[in-house]
Symmetry: C2
Subunit: 524 residues, 2 copies
Amino acid sequence: MPTYSDLDAAKAFRNLVSAPRPKPLPELLTPARVSACSIPMGGGLTYNFAAKLVDDAVVGLLADLAREQDLIAKYRVLLDGEEVNTGEGRKVLHQLTRGQLGKNVEFEGKNVRSFYEGEREKFSQFARNVHSGKIVGSTGKRFTRAVQVGIGGSDLGPRALYLALENWARNCGMLRMDARFISNVDPDDGYAVLESCSLESTLFILVSKSGTTQETLTNELLVRGELAKKGLDPAKHMVAVTSETSPIAKSPDYLASFFIDDFIGGRYSSTSAVGGVVLSLAFGPEVFAQILKGAAEGDKAALEPDPKKNAALMDAMIGVYERNVLGFPATAVLPYSQALVRFPAHLQQLDMESNGKSVNRFGTPVSYSTGPLVFGEPGTNGQHSFYQLLHQGTDVTPLQFVGFLESQRNEDLIVEGSSSQSKLKANLAAQIVAFAKGKKDGNPNKTFAGGRPSSLIWGSKLGPEALGALLAHFENKVMFQGFVWNVNSFDQEGVQLGKVLTKQVLKGGDMDGALAAYAALLEV
Amino acid sequence: MPTYSDLDAAKAFRNLVSAPRPKPLPELLTPARVSACSIPMGGGLTYNFAAKLVDDAVVGLLADLAREQDLIAKYRVLLDGEEVNTGEGRKVLHQLTRGQLGKNVEFEGKNVRSFYEGEREKFSQFARNVHSGKIVGSTGKRFTRAVQVGIGGSDLGPRALYLALENWARNCGMLRMDARFISNVDPDDGYAVLESCSLESTLFILVSKSGTTQETLTNELLVRGELAKKGLDPAKHMVAVTSETSPIAKSPDYLASFFIDDFIGGRYSSTSAVGGVVLSLAFGPEVFAQILKGAAEGDKAALEPDPKKNAALMDAMIGVYERNVLGFPATAVLPYSQALVRFPAHLQQLDMESNGKSVNRFGTPVSYSTGPLVFGEPGTNGQHSFYQLLHQGTDVTPLQFVGFLESQRNEDLIVEGSSSQSKLKANLAAQIVAFAKGKKDGNPNKTFAGGRPSSLIWGSKLGPEALGALLAHFENKVMFQGFVWNVNSFDQEGVQLGKVLTKQVLKGGDMDGALAAYAALLEV
């Protein structure tokens, strides 16, 4: 069994802190590095860290740290079904939704992988029946749209993946149904989505692992009310994705129910039924299987002990160096693909909810920085917005670029001798170099200091396998960083207090004076 | 004339740094503060800073600093047409698009306010003619959709404002046309929007101040190509918003052209023709006039010298305290209104592009932190995502909440004794208090340290006047902070280097070796 200990107890970390810093990026970044610093990620993707502020010596020390913190062994016991989520006493098995890399995992006498696969078969068959018209709405109309009702991990990951493939699927004739999402308890969110739907041909997917999420249950009733108003039978227009033990499991109010369990955390649930039902309905079960294949390749690639051959591990270790040695507080995710418009929002949850912790896995406060702030928008849009601060602000923010050789559609246009996709890629290459190398100018206002590190994930085209590998890469990066920082990346106690206080406000009961004052101000 | 000097040269700043810190927020935040710390903002909105980490002594010192840096005088000379954008030798006149608060401003013999008002009359009349069917598409069909083609400030602000009022307008019968936006040079963006449109009844608004923005001109050709493919006359389906001196001004290729000038920066252009054309088409010129009215009220409120009576000034000064004394690197914007879903992206540009600078207005490097990172997502969604880090992460991130007493629609639903809007507001009140006060718990994993400061902007309902005031508030806050930091908040030299390098890549000419290597990797 691996030993869990704090980052600042590691000898390799002390070596890293006292080691000389690499020479500045403008000198460090050479053409030779661009070709040398590539690592395959699975799914046809490659991770390139040529423009990161690490040299061979630092990479060597980061490899020592990964070894000393025993990261691969910790990943392996997680895969084998160890209760890595110690706070909640739970296994962590999202990787098992897409492959078997460790031992068989049993829980209460059943094989967990078989359970996940069984659910996948169920919802695959359900999707086929919807597509063939065997399952139809309560007036006999075929379903042409799926609306997912969920929040947090039941929304962000599935939504990001759906949007990432919507145009790809439309272009190659694979869009079986389109999808929409209702998440916010703000009634303006739900009503606006419902207004855009022809309810007779809309199938709703209610997603709540616990079956008790206030926002989701409220939106469910809103949806049921609107269906009933139109004379439709809500039970014929809604399926549930939940755990077998939840209060809504196996209710006759749903056309079908698909199950997950406590070993799939919300932010890690995109490859379970939480993402699988809507993605199989939208794109067909075969496309969902390709997403899983890409993710499984990413998981497998993450088993390699040498960071130079393990993209998720290298990305994680460089992130630790940037956070705990160089002292950078944030990371920007900048996909040069409009299809990844909501992928940064998913990563924001994945990373910040997993590693935004101040106590280690044993409950002792840590005395070093843990998870960074994560934010981002697609390029080139961001170039016309917040890149100003990234280039010339007083703080340095490490950057994560993502790009593809081809667009998702075959359509493009040559303007001034280049296609839009070429312009997109030229901008991407230019930004990496501009951030790293900067530029001196006689006018100090036009001087770029450079020294702003970035990495690049790239592939030929954004399709389902690449997307699965991209998803798994960040899940595994965040997992490795959690192991380095010795925090539990799989609970989220930080969201509980707000829920408790919200209930106090709504009950109008015994409240802290300030809380009562705010409630009065807002006329709750 | 006011004197421009660096923050660290100010005596009040040194006093602030050496002053005792306020007592911790859990003690500081009392019910009395909640009622005492409110400042009207115009447009029916109120700014409340009860949960900010400032006490009377700190507020007094911040007022001293505002006085010493002569912020109101600097605002007044800006309003009077002084060339405050020194780097580019330009006046800064976006406030003049919505009111006359300073002297008459003349440029090249014309009154600038009359010019802006004249353009507004032109596009108001144009919108009326579109709505009445006097102006129709090339096949005689009425226009029912407007598509804005622009990037950066020609996209983010107008898009955020449109989305903020779309459902409000639909609900009160004011949605005259719906709107879409094409921004990214990624061809998948443009084609996806075009696919969703019936081109016969779609009017395009091409927005580029310079008339040379690569992304926008590329997308224009893409749009014209698709129109021509459908047998439509592109010149009958497109208007331009640009400057009178741009290469596309007064071209016969447009149905009409509307003008702005160099004194309206991109990120400050929502209340000029850049936002005005699309918003007048979507909601009618009267609604756009209400947005301007709210913004003008915000501008007027920002003239008050006492920060305790000037919300934008107080917000700015507290932000400086958090950045330069308390050392917090970022700010999260958290609107409890789904309608404000893209408002944080607009603020990200507004703030980070304005104050993400390392040299002062005279070109001398500053030795203190300037603009923070800005990011955000609507609540309650964020609560199920990155709030974990905000509550329990190792860094403190100051928060800006926004909320409204009523939803934009009349529709709502009582579930478990409360409406969705009440739940939304209860969550908002609960979060403010949870962040500020925290909670001790026997389990350290469930302990919340508290001490995480936030402010709240609230109003009765999000309509056009409130939205205008909200927009102006942040513009003026950012302006005041730029004055405090002594930077030029109105240029953006940090975006230029990337453009130059992009051109080198596309020309395939003389390139830095690393740039050539990345271009080869991405097969540009």
